[in-house]
Symmetry: C2
DNA sequence: CCAATAGGGTTGCATTTTAAAACCAAATTG
DNA sequence: CAATTTGGTTTTAAAATGCAACCCTATTGG
């Protein structure tokens, strides 16, 4: 049967995955963050089928993660650019990249590639922090309101 | 044709998505973080088909995100518990949750539910930080080694 | 000016995945 | 010892995916 969707889930992670939780969408966002804007460039860089790319781009535009802009002077050339909502996925993408680098390093190892534009220093590992700015593990946390309304320990 | 997999992609985000990038896996990890350990509990809380849950749990175990432990005294009762690799997805899940809360808030709004176990204060928004600990946007960053080996601006 | 090519898609079709429900087997409960 | 719980596997239909083949609108080249 059809894939289950989570549009109306009370869980915001489920709703988020509804928008960017498939195999391609987050990779498209990633490449958009790297500067890719054109249909053909996405297609070649990702090796994605054109119809799937069409579908994903349209869905990302619908969800206001990307914005489609006409750039051909008098023709039909488009650019897909991140919206603020899309750029706001930056921590998600970086956290995922760092996780992948840590636990599934590339055979030819290129561990961390994001650097501060001003200083040239690598960015920190993305962590959850408490109000004092100290890194927290999952054990340092509890859930005030739960998925189902019942309070649970993390 | 079959879904394309990214096992050998040079992009660590692609490799990460290969392990937890489908609709269900990250939700399973999320619930595991909330304390769920049993097959039936995952099934009921997620509303997932049993065969899909079997498959996802097995894949997560294969990828060492979860560990399957026999807990029945002399029977076949199992618990699926997060490994260190799985717990390390904490920042990813929190970042995604915060993104979902910000951009797709639940109609009945329960904005942020993670709190410091010691102080009871909410956790900070997950951000990318430079070496000095200052939050960075995507514009503050450049890519030293790129997906394809060619340097690109972010 | 006309042909060739590039950008951005859409359409068909075969192959996988997914979801739901039925079925199963071991262990535990009543 | 029958019913139930846990943790699955099997079957079947509906979607999603990937590929190739088209299509239409510019722009380029000769």
């Amino acid at each position: 049967m059809a894939r289950k969707r989570f549009d109306d889930s009370s869980c915001s992670v489920a709703r988020a995955l509804n928008e960017v939780g498939d195999w391609w969408s987050l990779l498209i966002v990633l490449h958009a963050m790297y500067g890719t804007r054109r249909f053909v460039d996405f297609q070649q860089q990702l090796g994605i089928a054109k119809n799937i790319l069409c579908d994903r781009l349209a869905r990302l535009v619908d969800n206001e993660v990307l914005r489609k802009e006409e750039v051909g002077e008098h023709g039909s050339r488009f650019e897909y650019r991140l919206t603020e909502k899309g750029r706001d996925l930056f921590p998600v993408v970086v956290a995922l990249r760092q996780w992948g680098d840590k636990w599934n390093p590339a055979p030819d190892g290129q561990p961390l590639d994001l650097r501060d534009r001003d200083t040239g220093e690598p960015v920190q590992t993305v962590t959850v922090r408490n109000a004092q700015g100290e890194p927290m593990s999952i054990r340092d946390v509890f859930v005030a309101e739960d998925l189902d309304g019942t309070s649970k320990s993390a």
